[in-house]
């Protein structure tokens, strides 16, 4: 397989404009922070750097908007980075996710953390990494992007440096992350050794045809890569860092890990397995299905036992990963769309949950489930929004979770994985218990005090947008589904294109 020489490669730097914006913006934020008041003033709360958060959000939104410019394009930068609908969808999605995380951070960071400039800069850099994971068309670029995302998150997870839990969670996250990165890299090298390429499409082409005499090293490489990606998306048994990191990290960062890191992991997982390993699907699909069952079971069952809301959400997010893995196990154009749709619905819902928790934490500094007793009386709007989001996570009709889960389970059932869909329905049912537990606490519990909380208008605005998104996807999923279908079509089209190429004499 010959690849074009460097001179023939396409170096259209403007294709990377969103990433340049993010990096530049991140640098600017650091500088701005440097020249804006002193840290000492910040600690005493005299000089607030709250606006930095909104500036960072603006940068993320700007990058998302700029990326819209390439809707419908099929471009490639230097044979490393695809710029097509798939990339655009994730660029927009990641940008908006980060923007919500920044807005939710603003007050939290002002009150509790030092060095806000670096904090927001790292968030923006993590978006660059996430974008790269969705856009990469070959393994090393994907790996470097993954590392960029991970390193930003390692630092962010331990950002609350005077809090032991934050340090512990961050350190565990980093050590295990390094460990699984090595595993992933080893997998890459084995796959490269067998197929002679790191490009997804080229690998896919090599694996096409008769796969009965496939090299065992390739399967070993595949197993290692599943392990590496499994760590990133927190699939059982590679999930163990999740509860510790979730609990330790500052709340907005927990939100970011659960939203950005997870969906970037799935963006890469989906693209890699579609373009490179689809020919081997009969070999790996049952492993993924088994991981899916284990993940659903462990996440949902252990979640029942949790008393800390962040840990509960960590396990619930593991459970959700189990559902998402179904989309990979059943890999087809429909299931890929269903996976991305469910992921978007899940992230929007999860962000809504986290915004609620952050608001509540800003008020009270508490995060145990029992601390939410009687919230409905003290903050009815918050309780309503949190209930809607939790109902959606549980997959109740009217809300995003139902529509997207329905489509996902249906797509799995179509690929002869009806039993898996059955298991998923069972565990969705189990999950109702712990989600409703929070709702019950909020509406039936006795509040410690009866005073109303002050209204945080900006956060409530962001929350309203997210809840509106949850309801919209729940009631009228069609437009989002169409957009997702457009984007996943491009990665499947790439598979067919390369098939067409190889058929040429």
């Amino acid at each position: 397989m010959l690849w074009p020489a460097m001179t023939q490669l396409n170096f259209q730097w403007e294709l990377l404009a969103p990433e340049f914006i993010l990096v530049g913006w991140a640098g600017a934020l650091v500088l701005l922070d440097l020249f804006w008041g002193s840290s000492a003033g910040l600690r005493t709360g005299r000089i607030g750097k709250e606006p930095l958060g909104y500036l960072a959000a603006a940068g993320a939104v700007a990058a998302a908007l700029v990326s819209l410019f390439w809707i419908g394009d099929h471009k490639n930068f230097a044979d490393l980075i695809d710029v097509n609908n798939y990339t655009t969808l994730f660029r927009v999605f990641f940008g908006l996710t980060a923007a919500f995380a920044c807005i939710a951070s603003a007050r939290y960071v002002k009150d509790r953390l030092l060095h806000p400039g670096e904090y927001y800069a790292l968030i923006l850099l993590s978006v660059v990494g996430a974008n790269g994971m969705a856009a990469a068309s070959e393994l090393l670029t994907a790996y470097i992007s993954l590392e960029l995302l991970s390193f930003s998150l390692y630092v962010l997870a331990s950002y609350d440096k005077f809090d032991l839990r934050s340090n512990e969670g961050g350190l565990k996250y980093m050590l295990l992350g390094a460990f699984s990165s090595a595993i992933f890299l080893y997998g890459i090298s084995l796959v490269y050794g067998v197929t002679g390429s790191t490009h997804f499409n080229a690998i896919g082409e090599v694996l096409k045809g008769d796969t009965s005499d496939i090299d065992m090293a390739l399967l070993l490489g595949l197993a290692l890569m599943i392990g590496g990606l499994g760590f990133k998306v927190a699939a059982v048994p590679f999930h163990m860092w999740t509860p510790d990191a979730y609990e330790g990290a500052p709340l907005p960062i927990t939100a970011l890990i659960s939203a950005l890191s997870k969906s970037a992991g799935f963006a890469l997982f989906l693209k890699l397995f579609t373009q490179a390993f689809l020919p081997l699907i009969d070999d790996w699909r049952y492993f993924i299905a088994a991981l899916s069952v284990a993940t659903m079971a462990l996440g949902n069952l252990v979640a029942i036992q949790q008393q800390n809301l962040k840990r509960l959400l960590a396990y619930s997010s593991i459970g959700q990963v189990g559902y998402l893995l179904m989309g990979i196990a059943a890999l087809s154009p429909e299931s890929a769309s269903a996976l991305v749709l469910h992921m978007i619905g899940y992230v929007v819902t999860n962000l809504a949950v986290f915004v609620c928790i952050i608001i509540y934490y800003n008020w009270t500094g508490k995060e145990e489930i029992k601390d939410y007793a009687g919230t409905a009386e003290r903050a009815p709007f918050l309780a309503l929004c949190l209930s809607i989001a939790l109902f959606s996570l549980a997959g109740m009709p009217l809300f995003a979770g139902f529509a997207t889960k329905f489509i996902l389970f249906q797509s799995a059932a179509q690929e002869d994985l009806l039993w898996l869909a059955g298991v998923a329905v069972f565990f969705s049912f189990v999950s109702l218990y712990y989600y409703l537990l929070i709702v019950k606490e909020m509406y039936l519990g006795e509040p410690a005090e009866r005073t109303r909380f002050p209204t945080p208008w900006l956060e409530y605005g962001a929350l309203s947008l997210l809840v509106a998104g949850v309801m919209f996807v729940g009631l009228y999923p069609q437009p989002v589904y169409d957009a997702v279908e457009d984007s996943t079509a491009t990665i499947f089209a790439a598979v067919e294109d390369s098939a067409a190429v190889s058929e040429r004499p």
Binding site: F179, L219, L224, G227
Partner: protein
């Protein structure tokens, strides 16, 4: 017609705003609710004009706009709004009466502790009702259908601190739900064979012979079950009299002019299916309608609550509409529905004025109000005469149409029964009027402070009275043409069958004769101290008891609930407690909880264990790969 969807959308938006921010709005947002309703009513006119433009074109069967709601692979559901001649009649009634009632409510509900909530519910009701009317498919229609039922529940139980109100709300909800289940079964049956919820498509499918005749008959009878519940037909009529526990404007809007006629509207809308089905379907409609007419007219004779008497007259009217439908005259039913909306809302709102002024609603406590409340007495009189069917009020023309169709029906007995009901209607309506407005007051204290309602409440009364006077003339081709319609209401609504206005002196004279007879008899029986009535009551004690206890239908239901439902319930409860709950639910929940508890300890918090898990995961996958492949 493209923009008809705005009519429900605007009150719907008002509902959302009121629900979220109503508390913070000046005057609790009543103006917003009314403004939304007014906007909706204004939009009615362009929609009507558009329809009139197109109605002459060849092959016109209505139009609208629909959106794809869900589409995955071959499974598609479209939702949309649809306007044709039947819907336009209903739209006019609903939007106008809703507007009048909301304006009236500003005065009536003043000072109520849940004033804002009242208007929130009213907005939701208007949005749901208009959705029901405009829906182009059964799914949306059903959604609107359930939503109006829910609003009815909220508004009947508006004063839920009162036990009777809470009970009535529950009774109304549960009773109508029984019919709704049938309705849903009918919808699913129609969908199952046709594969679509779209009403026009279902008509085409049925016309092409897609349904088996027996199957279709069963399906439409299930649909009709929904109408029986919603429109208070025998045997599900028991909730409507109790529903009078709600605020009077609610009774006027929901339990007289709009929601309760939804059943009639639905049957009229689906009428092509009823015609294609076995004739037995329409016979059932006719039979139940006739039964309701007889029961309600006689029960109206002994009720003493002013609102309950009007409620029985509503049941009576609804029965008549179903008689018309059963006899095959959709025109008659829809025309009666149209004028009934005005005069019945008028009667309720006027009775509301009486209750508002005197704080009494038992006619044994009232009397002599004509002098104190001349305006109310006048409009109440117009409403009463229209209900009785005295020429030239609107009720006369509409009743005349129904009498015609009854006379043309297979059996002469139907005509006789309907005619007799006209006499009884005249009797109890006269009783109601005489006992409320004439002679000496039985409770002087109540009369002392009585006065006509303020302008805000009187204006809707006057407008409705005016419409009661003139709306009947729409039946004439000449009047219709002068207003821009292609003819009288019959010609307009059912252009293809050209069901023109029928008039025969024989029917008109007969109905006028019995109506006047009933009227005079009423005057004779309920004189100053109502001695003749008391004597009659003593003489026919068992009959009086039977009527007073509403034919013991409620008692029979209560007995059935106590002895049959609760017994079956106790058996099931035992099964549920011991087998389902203790063994199934608690058992499996315990198992789930336990397994979660066990798995919790996998999370040790020790880093090497975590790394070990990752390594083991990879190794197991790799080994299985190699083993399976080798």
């Amino acid at each position: 017609m493209q923009d008809a969807w705005l009519m429900p959308a605007i009150p719907g938006a008002a509902f959302v705003i009121l629900l979220l921010f109503g508390k913070y709005l000046p005057r609790k947002g009543d103006w917003l609710s009314i403004a939304a309703m007014a906007a909706s009513f204004v939009i009615f006119f362009p929609v009507l004009a558009d329809l009139l433009d197109k109605v002459d074109t060849e092959g016109f069967t209505g139009g609208g706009k629909s959106w794809e709601w869900i589409s995955f692979d071959t499974f598609t559901i479209r939702l949309g709004f649809f306007t044709d001649q039947i819907t336009i009649v209903m739209l006019g009634v609903v939007s106008f009466v809703a507007l009048m009632v909301q304006v009236y409510s500003v005065g009536y509900m003043k000072g109520d502790s849940r004033y804002g909530w009242y208007f929130t519910c009213m907005s939701l009701f208007a949005a749901s009702m208009l959705t029901l009317v405009l829906a182009d498919n059964l799914l949306l229609l059903y959604a609107g259908w359930e939503a109006v039922g829910f609003c009815s529940f909220l508004l009947i139980g508006f004063w839920w601190e009162k036990r009777s109100a809470a009970e009535a709300a529950k009774k109304a909800f549960i009773t109508t739900r029984i019919g709704d289940v049938g309705f849903l079964i009918g919808i699913i049956m129609l969908w199952k064979q046709a594969g679509t919820f779209d009403i026009s498509d279902i008509f085409q499918f049925a016309a092409a012979g897609g349904y088996d005749s027996t199957y279709l008959t069963a399906a439409v009878l299930f649909l009709f079950a929904g109408a029986v519940g919603k429109s208070g037909q025998f045997p599900l009529h028991v909730w409507l009299p109790d529903a009078m526990e709600g605020p009077t404007p609610v009774s006027a809007l929901i339990h007289a002019a709009t929601m309760v006629v939804a059943g009639v509207y639905m049957v009229a809308r689906m009428f092509p299916l009823f015609q294609l089905a076995d004739p037995v379907a329409l016979d059932v409609v006719l039979g139940l309608g006739l039964t309701t007419v007889v029961l309600s007219a006689t029960m109206g004779l002994v009720a003493t609550d002013i609102k309950r008497v009007i409620a029985y007259s509503t049941l009576n009217s609804l029965g008549l509409m179903f008689v018309a439908l059963g006899a095959g005259s959709t025109t008659g039913a829809m025309f009666y529905l149209f004028v009934h909306g005005f005069f019945k809302a008028l009667l309720f709102l006027a009775s509301g004025s009486v209750i508002h002024a005197t704080d009494r609603q038992d006619i044994n406590d009232l009397g002599g109000l004509a002098a104190k409340m001349p305006l109310t007495a006048a409009v109440f009189g117009i409403g009463t005469l229209s209900m009785i069917g005295i020429v030239p009020l609107s009720g006369f023309w509409a009743k005349d149409e129904i009498l015609h169709s009854a006379r043309d029906a297979e059996s002469a007995i139907i005509y006789v029964i309907v005619l007799a009901s006209v006499a009884v209607t005249a009797l109890y309506m006269t009783r109601l009027y005489v006992r409320t407005f004439f002679f000496q007051p039985r409770d002087r204290q109540a009369r002392e402070h009585a006065h006509d309602a303020p302008l805000l409440m009187s204006a809707p009364l006057l407008l409705l009275a005016a419409l009661t006077l003139v709306s009947g003339f729409l039946v004439f081709d000449g009047v219709g043409e002068a207003l821009g319609f292609p003819g009288g209401i019959g010609k307009f609504v059912f252009a293809e069958e050209a069901e023109a206005f029928k008039f025969s002196w024989e029917v008109a004279l007969a109905s006028t004769a019995v109506a006047l007879g009933g009227l005079l008899a009423g005057f004779a029986i309920w004189q100053e101290d109502a001695q003749p009535a008391k004597r009659l009551g003593e003489r026919f004690r068992p009959v009086y008891e039977l009527l007073f206890h509403r034919y013991y239908v409620d008692e029979v239901y209560q007995w059935a609930i106590n002895h049959i439902v609760l017994f079956a319930g106790s058996v099931l409860a035992w099964f549920d407690r011991n087998i389902v709950n203790d063994t199934g639910v608690d058992g499996s929940a315990g198992l789930t909880y336990l397994s979660g508890f066990q798995m919790k300890f996998l999370e040790t918090g020790k880093l090497p264990n975590y790394a070990l898990a990752i390594s083991l995961g990879v190794i197991v996958i790799a080994i299985l790969f190699l083993v399976l492949k080798a």
